[in-house]
Symmetry: C2
Subunit: 338 residues, 2 copies
Amino acid sequence: MTRLSDAGEFEVIRRMLAAAPAGGPGVVLGPGDDAALLRPVPGEDLAVTTDAFVEGRHWRPGWIEGEALGARLAEANLSDLAAMAARPRWALLSGGLRGDHPLADLESFQRGLAGALAAHGAAVVGGNLTAVEGAEWWSLTLIGGVSEGRAFRRAGARPGDALVVSGRPGRAGAGLRLAIALGERAREEAFAPLLAAWRAPRARVSLALALAGTHAVGAAVDLSDGFAGDLAHLCEAGAVGAEVELERWPADEALTHAAGVLGVTAEALRMGPSDDYELLLAIAPAGLPACMEAAGREGLPLAVVGRFTDRPGALEALAPDGSRRPLGGAGWDHFAGR
Amino acid sequence: MTRLSDAGEFEVIRRMLAAAPAGGPGVVLGPGDDAALLRPVPGEDLAVTTDAFVEGRHWRPGWIEGEALGARLAEANLSDLAAMAARPRWALLSGGLRGDHPLADLESFQRGLAGALAAHGAAVVGGNLTAVEGAEWWSLTLIGGVSEGRAFRRAGARPGDALVVSGRPGRAGAGLRLAIALGERAREEAFAPLLAAWRAPRARVSLALALAGTHAVGAAVDLSDGFAGDLAHLCEAGAVGAEVELERWPADEALTHAAGVLGVTAEALRMGPSDDYELLLAIAPAGLPACMEAAGREGLPLAVVGRFTDRPGALEALAPDGSRRPLGGAGWDHFAGR
């Protein structure tokens, strides 16, 4: 088995690029020079984001590695562009790897990364590799394009706007908790949708672009911390509050089953730390039908799970009898570890 | 002393941004959303690069940390844009930090980074922080602008072109070797210019922009591996060879002194691994006077140290008597560790 230290830096880069060639629309000059040269689309702003994965923290060998890891890193960054309604274009990859890392695994990683980007028309255009002794890490920077003035932002939710989510938030966090709590037993059939949500999320890029066409989205964030945490970001940016109607949440048998096994409530899984890479949106009531229709065409139904209020900072659960209580759950703090 | 784990992720980011605010020309939306929004200059291509530093490998606590480390990370990336004759504009910072990292040191780092970028009109527009257990690391992505078709490239050197360098290549590598070999004794006055070249390099951005105005530069690379290694890149990209006239090299008393102390030749220090972040250029003889004049106006003299040849891949030292021998030295391979 060939390892990085056998091949040497330049051969490693050559093999990675052979596994998934760089270049594509707007790439004037790809990898191999001091910098890549890219040609922006006239009239578009750039949307740029960066996200990193650390071994043992963001990925668990045996569950996510190689191709799946590359794809997941891409999806995490693609999701940030989806939250801005930007079209992904170019990525730069920076990695810290041990010398004993198998070269074949790196080629798989590159294929997974490039494949996930290519599904949205984007490509790796450059990068940097450096050697580390301990935990490995990857950092990806992704550049997209969005027509001037058309980007979704976190600020913009208004009292009365519908609180809308895509997919089934909470599933990814439930999958991770199952893998930790049950080990191999988490691979049973009943948990499959939760494990898939954690291991192979899909950024909602095409959904976001379809919704942008309706001009009805007032604010957006992607669910990378967890529903309650990311909703708090949206409320803070817009100086609004939110009330969530838990009864309107889409039914999710797998999640309910997992909650029982884990000894927690389904609400805790839905509201708590979970990187689902779904979208959380504020949509004016008049714009809802157009958004629902656009999402339906994408095959990705949206759910209205509450509304924004004029009580800044208040995140509440609204019961069918009209009573309110503070919403549970919290996002993830990298340094506090909670 | 406040540490990252005391402050929590969002407070850490708030304090970093307070230490050196983000934003500047072309920044439509800075940090705090899912992505930053940037407005490119019409008619310009983007030049994008990424470079990373790993604790214990790219920086040595006690020699380079805090503000100096932030500045050095910026210069390493700025130098890649200088090698493309691009104007630096926007940076994204990604970091892996331990929870016990002092917050004040992080603020110093951010000031050093932002200050070095600001000197060239660029600013941090976004980033990501994640927690690590072992060695800390930083990865910076830098985006610049360059008029379409005007970027310097590695390919383009032609036989007969002058081989030109800025500054005193080899000094940074000599400074590092002195610090390793002598420890505290390396701080003596005679070594100061070498230690400074290693600890506080200055990317040749303004020199590159001035040279671009002459339209006489055929190819360029920045010296981040070492003279012989980076010259090999330039020769490979242009399918040419090069002959170096060591006697024409600018005199460097400090380097010669260090070579004696280290028990190596001055040639080994000049040709070997050294990240000086100077420029290595191919310039057609007819364009030399204009380049020399432009460099003189910048206060950064260039030296002609050889010429490119029609012997692809041959890197030779040319003696005053006309005899040739293979050039010594080699670049740095991250994974081979040589």
